[in-house]
Amino acid sequence: MAKKRMVQAINEGIAEEMARDPSIVLFGEDVEVSPIGDTRNLFERFGPARVRNTPISETVMTGMAVGAAAAGYRVICHLFYGNFIYTGFDAIANQAAKLRYMLGGQIRLPITFMAVIGGGRSVAAQHSDSMHPTLMNLGGVKVVMPGSPGDAKGLIKSSIRDDSPVFFLQAAGRGGESGEVPDGEYVIPLGKAIILRPGSNVTVVAIGSMVKPAQRACDELAKAGVSAELIDPRCVMPFDFDTVVDSVKRTGRLVIVDEARRTCSAASEIAATVTERTFGTLRAPARRVTVEDVAMPYSPILEKAVIPDHLRIMEAVRGLMQ
């Protein structure tokens, strides 16, 4: 166990998996020099057959990931910024999410699509979307969003081992903090939430980049005498509703924090489903703390206003407690 940044944890997880399983291949734009750092040294270690830089051609890349996976390889397709998922979206939505189904189960599609998502660094609208809701609605892909470096390692390993297409989405802006990362074999099952802090007055579900501000909000709420239970779902598709429902049955209140735009967000889905399952027990309507239905602005002052922070989370919790 050592302190590492999230990209280092991911890098370690990928390297361990590639060493373990020779059928794993990785490709993407500049994965060799790795501007993000998560694929650093993999080229040197696993060679040019298994680690390949690609041209800027997201359309064929996502199609190739599906084809190579169907033909027997375990594929990691690095798409860099999440917005480029849109560029390669045809083969994601029309092939990756559907091909096994359309073929009546004849193939498996062990693909890990990687991307960094979200705002917080003034890279503006075309590099800052949080598009996990779009992926969640596709039905045939899993969506993983680690909230800490340790979870990132355990989740990248299970994403790679999964036989279905998995989107592994790192928070770009606020995911770089250090955290404890277990050495060696450490695998977290997809679809299992973690209760980061127990509490009795309110359940706070925070996704990906929102885990950190939610932690801070819960700390400050505790000082003010409000006991919040903080849950990081870690994987939003499939979603561990049982853990959240259990918690809400105890607390009677739910706040969901999501960096996606509000309409049809993960937050909306969680609000709808958990409300359905906890109706009698909920003491107040579930609150969603999200980005409003706007693109991400460039100016830091605007970006800060748009992205939920601990203050907005605390405000939402306080609103529920009245």
Binding site: G63, A71, D90, G104, D162
Partner: protein, 346 residues
């Protein structure tokens, strides 16, 4: 009930390893030509039956037939084994059959039955038989190109000399993905053969109105060989494909083949029930019918001494095979409703 098999995964044709040179272009033996003729006849007979059944209202979904284009599927696929991959488009029955896909289970799929190759979940636009290296027909124009490029990459990694062949239309040649594939195939020297079946139409648009220049030339800027071939001459297709496939197996990379053919039936069956006007002249169809591939092959075989009795025998065999397949499909049960909820994840 077993589908005709021209080859198994072990009996690769000897000419597969022929060098990629015009001079060395081999002549097709009469035996091979007869096998290809039989395959084309199987495709034709199957699809004409599908047309009839469609007209009777017995098919749940749309069917796109390749009548007139059979030489492309046949001439290419006789070079392939079950360990080679193909991807196809919405007009995929011919490719499926030429690649040794199971006929009865294909028909059952088009009927939407439980015994279909995809359990009734895919239908005509998604017929696939992965055990035969058929990664499937595809409903997205250009969709098979990315998949095939990925399969070619997988085979390059595996290193067994297997290849991937992508069948797509002239319309699909206007999707950007084709160029992205050509670029990567050139850079990585992928064992990828792009077979563009130019049948004169992109849906209801004559090719010239939506496709600038000649398709085979689109490979040149990438340093990938491109060539046009008479797609109604099964021997010409077979020869061009043989060269390209041998080249790919030898690690020398990709080829784009534009096979020029003609779609004798509609884009989709029953299209004139919903189109407000015709998009081509009947006379054009009639003129093109004179060049259709089966007749051409038959003429060559007659010249090589194949008798009317032999043809009649083949026809009877094929007919029986098709009859059996449709009977199998029609008698097959519908899928269980629960199967709609399986296979989203592995």
């Amino acid at each position: 009930m077993e589908n005709m098999r021209l080859h198994s995964s072990t009996d690769r044709q000897p000419n597969d390893a022929a060098p990629a040179s015009e001079a060395a272009a081999p002549a097709a033996t009469t035996e091979l030509l007869l096998a290809m003729y039989r395959l084309m006849l199987l495709i034709r007979t199957t699809e004409e039956r599908l047309a009839k059944v469609q007209a009777s209202g017995a098919l749940p979904g749309p069917v796109h037939l390749s009548v007139g284009q059979e030489a492309v599927a046949a001439g290419v696929c006789v070079h392939l084994t079950d360990r080679d991959w193909i991807t196809s488009n919405h007009r995929g029955h011919g490719h499926f059959l030429a690649k040794s896909g199971d006929l009865p289970r294909m028909i059952a799929e088009v009927f939407g039955r439980a015994t279909g190759v995809c359990g009734g979940k895919g239908g005509s636009m998604h017929v696939a038989d992965v055990s035969k290296g058929i990664l499937g027909a595809n409903g997205i124009v250009g969709g098979g190109i990315g998949l095939g490029t990925g399969a070619a990459w997988a085979e390059q990694l595996r290193g067994d000399g297997n290849v991937a062949v992508v069948f797509f239309g002239d319309g699909a040649a206007n999707q950007g993905v084709m160029f992205e594939a050509l670029n990567i195939a050139a850079l990585w020297k992928l064992p990828l053969i792009l077979v563009c079946e130019n049948n004169g139409f992109s849906e209801f648009s004559p090719s010239a109105t939506v496709t600038a220049g000649e398709i085979w030339r689109r490979a040149e800027p990438f340093g990938v060989p491109g060539l046009a071939v008479d797609g109604n001459d099964v021997v010409a297709v077979w020869r061009a494909a043989g060269t390209a496939i041998a080249r790919a197996r030898a690690g020398a990379g990709s080829t784009l083949i534009e096979a020029r053919t003609y779609r004798l039936r509609g884009h989709v069956e029953a299209e004139m029930t919903f189109l407000s006007k015709a998009y081509r002249e009947d006379a054009e169809i009639e003129a093109r019918r004179a060049h259709e591939p089966l007749m051409q092959a038959r003429r060559k075989l007659e010249q090589a001494g194949i008798t009317a009795a032999t043809f009649a025998g083949i026809e009877a065999e094929v007919l029986a095979q098709v009859d059996d397949a449709f009977k199998f499909a029609e008698e097959s049960p519908w899928p269980a409703v629960e199967s709609a909820y399986t296979h989203m994840f592995s």
